[in-house]
């Protein structure tokens, strides 16, 4: 079962983990993305995330469905926060539940790699020098492309 949420509020990782457990789930892997100071002058005041409402939910839904289909996942959660966030605040949560660990780990990596390139969210950084839009990273493009050339593992 897939659940997607885009929200301003923080999320509770342990509550999300609990909500994914069942008798057939033997592994729950999670990923949390957190605000860090990546500005050159180490002066990040805040990070603001905006999204394209409607399209962003659909994009996450699509990525989650592809992850479900690829691995043998029983549950997928994606929570993405929007609005103004401070250093060390949570940004994103991904949870994948499966019978075994490999599918759960792979699910999280797959979802994050595609979330970085295929979901309409944008970050801007507020520093002492003003506000700047974060630019895309080539590494992220390569990470999601690399899944397309990988052979699907049968589990």
């Amino acid at each position: 079962m897939i659940k997607i949420r885009i929200q301003q509020e923080d999320f509770d990782v342990s509550a999300e983990i609990k909500s994914m457990s069942s008798k057939t789930v033997g592994a729950i892997a999670t990923f949390s993305g957190v605000v860090r100071d990546s500005s050159e002058s180490n002066s990040l005041i805040s990070l603001t995330l905006e999204h394209y409402p409607g399209m962003s939910e659909d994009a996450l839904e699509k990525i989650a469905a592809a992850a479900m289909q690829k691995g043998s996942l029983e549950a997928v959660r994606i929570i993405h926060r929007v609005g103004r966030l401070l250093p060390e605040d949570n940004i994103v949560f991904v949870g994948c539940a499966s019978a075994h660990r490999h599918a759960a780990f792979d699910g999280c990596r797959y979802i994050m790699d595609f979330l970085k390139t295929d979901a309409p969210f944008w970050k801007s950084e507020e520093t002492q020098e003003g506000r700047i839009w974060v630019s895309e990273r080539k590494k992220d493009q390569n990470a999601s492309k690399s899944w397309l050339s990988k052979k699907t593992k049968k589990s």
Binding site: G33, L49, E50, H51, Y52, G54, M55, D58, H80, I91, V92, M112, L115, K116, T117, D118, A119, P120, F121, W122, K123, S124, W133, V134, S135, E136
Partner: protein
């Protein structure tokens, strides 16, 4: 046609959406951007380098040569940076 702008594209233009009826010769994303450039200095700045612009038609990512119809919702934005 409903046109939406996000991130620095919107910052340059000064607002987040507008309704336009385009002249007949405007048929693709690229042609729409060229047409929008004539609307204001902000538009011209936003669409100065189309390599830095991504587009969606009816909330799906599309390439710049995609054809449009007058009932479409079109969005312009920089490459995504979520997560």
């Amino acid at each position: 046609m409903r046109i939406l702008y996000f991130a620095w594209v919107r910052d340059n233009i000064g607002y987040s959406q507008e309704e336009l009826s385009c002249p007949k010769h405007v048929r693709t994303i690229n042609q729409l951007a060229e047409y929008l450039k004539l609307q204001s200095e902000g538009h011209a700045r936003a669409f100065d380098n189309m390599n830095a612009i991504r587009a969606a038609r009816n909330q799906q990512f599309v390439s710049h040569d995609t054809e449009l119809s007058d009932t479409d919702e079109v969005a312009f934005f920089p490459p995504v940076t979520g997560g």
